[in-house]
């Protein structure tokens, strides 16, 4: 039986991060993953991540995955794929199915980073082909290049539902409706706004009554629900769809920990059965650590920090570093993690209605219920300004931990300040050169360049555009408002695609000046 200093189960963002930190400190580390590719869910994430520059904000998920794999290889971490851990026994013995046999390993320490599995909801017809999880949709689109369906209903308005919904649009699918049983959109407003401006309708306080079809999904009926989750008769709505995509939360895959005898708890706030552990992933059994979604559902950025913490804690457990070094290293990671857990979407605010931003501005009600900030609400936010000439307009209206826009502007036009969750504001004393770096840097695609004095009677609007085919200069079409409705005629006057924009194209359209504050999307004729 082979013995390692550290055995890690799961080669996702947290497992790999843990492996890197442990290996850097001289530990002999092996990582098992049951999948044929490493990286967990990272390689399915084609969107730019939120956060701060130090934590890979505005970098696309799959690029972060590549960086992690490179770092793991450099530090000598061994990753064994197609290796299914089937048991975790006494004294840290791990049994792994590799190929046609089972192998036994002993770890002086163990980190469980198995992640989570998708939840499903049941309704008549939920077992029909065509009802899929959001993760399956991402696997099909972003790993295998297969379109999951043509007309889709998305259930779930958390960040997963919103992000995958947008990716489905990018993939060429139509989203018939975005539905959530909750009365308010659960994910970031900027993610919802990306969908709403293309015309996706949101149905909050609604859920699925039934899926129709004999051999596969051919339609779906939704209805409004009251506060005790009962359908309200007469509110049924029918959609002809071929796919129902569910993004209704995740459950930690914590069974190995339970088997090993770690103390567990049923904690709905953390997603279900989770091990009882401290903030650095130490479970009730000395030498067994956890990191990432298995210890409570969050997202990839915090999973990577948790992984680093667990890796360092394991190094200290085995004496590879002393307590002083441990505390020093953990202090900086603590700061990073608490930064990510601030703002309106912080874990402690889950499910709470926040009426005002930290700046004391009333939150957009329309954004929470319809997915877009209404025309009469947008003016009150600090990123929305009217200056002569070209200038950024930032439709970022919720306190979320993200600040790449501040560093993107070479002129220093954009101010967020020390507090990473503050709303971005425009510094009027600095003049914008219209480079568009801020537009491309915004992971929420919420920054536009507006020039209300573009030419007599016309304004120009530059927007982030991540769809194919890319419209050509001179093409005429319609400008759509934040709500996805047609507001006016528009003409494409510029298309910019620079390597520095990292595949976010900048589309500039010309609209009658009176629509400068309304037009936010372009649809070719």
């Amino acid at each position: 039986m082979k013995r390692y200093d550290l055995i890690i189960v799961g080669a996702g963002p947290s497992g790999l991060s843990a492996a890197i930190e442990a290996a850097k400190r001289g530990m002999n580390v092996i990582v098992f993953d049951e999948n044929e590719r490493p990286g967990g869910q990272l390689f399915k994430q084609i969107h730019k991540f939120f956060g701060s520059k130090e934590h890979k904000a505005k970098v696309r998920g799959f690029v972060i995955g590549k960086q992690l794999l490179d770092e793991a290889a450099e530090t000598g971490v061994k990753v064994i794929l197609n290796a299914t851990v089937i048991g975790l026994y006494q004294d840290k013995e791990i049994v792994v199915k590799i190929g046609e046999a089972v192998e036994h390993y002993k770890g002086n320490s163990i980190i469980i980073a198995t992640g989570a599995a998708e939840n499903m909801v049941t309704f008549p017809g939920w077992t029909l082909p065509g009802v899929i999880g959001a993760g399956a949709a991402q696997t099909m689109m972003n790993i295998h290049g297969v379109k999951p369906g043509s007309k889709i209903l998305m259930l779930g308005s958390g960040n997963v539902g919103l992000v995958v919904g947008f990716q489905l649009l990018q993939c060429g699918c139509e989203i018939a409706a975005l539905v959530d049983a909750a009365p308010r959109i659960g994910g970031y407003g900027v993610h919802a706004a990306k969908l709403a401006r293309t015309g996706v309708p949101f149905y909050l306080s609604h859920t699925i009554v039934e899926a129709e079809g004999d051999a596969c999904v051919t339609g779906v009926t939704i209805a409004e629900i009251d506060s005790s989750f009962n359908f309200i008769p007469g509110t049924e709505k029918h959609f002809d769809v071929d796919t129902i995509c569910m993004a209704v939360g995740l459950s930690p895959m914590s069974q190995l920990l339970k088997m090993a005898g770690c103390k567990m708890e049923d904690n709905p706030k953390r997603g279900g059965q989770v091990p009882i552990c401290d903030e650095y992933g130490r479970t009730s059994i000395p030498g067994i650590f956890v990191a990432g979604d298995v210890s409570g559902i969050e997202e990839a950025s915090s999973a990577m920090i948790e992984g680093r913490m667990a890796g360092i804690a394991a190094a200290e457990y085995l004496g590879y570093i002393d307590e002083n070094e441990l505390n020093k290293e953990l202090a900086s990671l603590d700061k990073a993690l608490s930064g990510l857990r601030q703002g309106m979407f912080a874990p402690e605010n889950r499910g709470r209605l926040i009426e005002k931003t930290d700046e004391g501005i009333a939150v957009s009600d329309s954004l929470l219920k319809k997915g877009y900030v209404a025309d009469d609400e947008i003016e009150r936010f600090p990123g929305f300004t009217h200056t002569k000439g070209i200038h950024p307009v930032m439709e970022c209206t919720q306190n979320i931990p993200c600040n790449p826009c501040q560093d993107a502007c070479p002129k220093g036009c954009i101010k967020i300040g020390k507090d990473i969750t503050a709303l971005p504001a425009v510094d009027d004393s600095v003049s914008c050169i219209g480079c568009g770096m801020c537009v491309a840097s915004c992971s929420g695609q919420a920054i536009f360049l507006v020039d209300e004095t573009y030419e007599e009677g016309y304004a120009s609007i530059t927007m982030p555009y991540e769809f194919f085919p890319l419209p050509e200069i001179g093409i005429k079409g319609k400008a759509l408002g934040r709500d996805g409705q047609i507001v006016c005629e528009a003409e494409v006057i510029n298309v910019k695609s620079l390597p520095a924009f990292d595949k976010t194209n900048l589309l500039t359209i010309k609209v009658p000046v009176e629509y400068a504050s309304k037009a936010r999307f372009f649809k070719a004729e």
């Binding site: 299914t84 048991g87 069974q255 339970k258």
Partner: protein, 110 residues
């Protein structure tokens, strides 16, 4: 209290969605799970042994939350009061011939 078999949970009342499949792998319906509770299966472990739900290919990854909620509702308790079923080897489905095939030697990729 959860395990008090003398507790009166009332008669089994049929419901319109009783034939909806909950455990896809073993094709167990909502009605079968509800009836099992009235047959005296008050714990998730008993339900699993009685019906095999959660013992198929996905090992309960999809249905265990649903089964838990259905059983809790039938017993008139909160799902958190129900002990989850035991976690044991093999954690993932595995063919018996592989399960029984201990690797002869340590991997040579060291």
């Amino acid at each position: 209290m959860v395990n008090d078999r003398l507790r009166d949970i009332g008669e089994f009342v049929p419901s319109a969605d009783d034939d909806m499949i909950i455990c896809r792998c073993e094709e167990i319906t909502k009605g079968e799970i509800r009836k099992a509770v009235h047959d005296g299966m008050f714990t998730l472990t008993e339900i699993r042994r009685y019906l095999r739900c959660g013992m198929g290919l996905c090992q309960g990854q999809t249905c265990s939350k649903h089964v838990k909620n259905i059983v809790a509702k039938e017993l008139g308790i909160s799902p958190a009061e129900l002990e989850p079923a035991t976690s044991r080897v093999p954690m993932r489905p595995i063919e018996m011939r592989i399960f029984a095939n201990e690797a002869k030697e340590v991997r040579s990729d060291e």
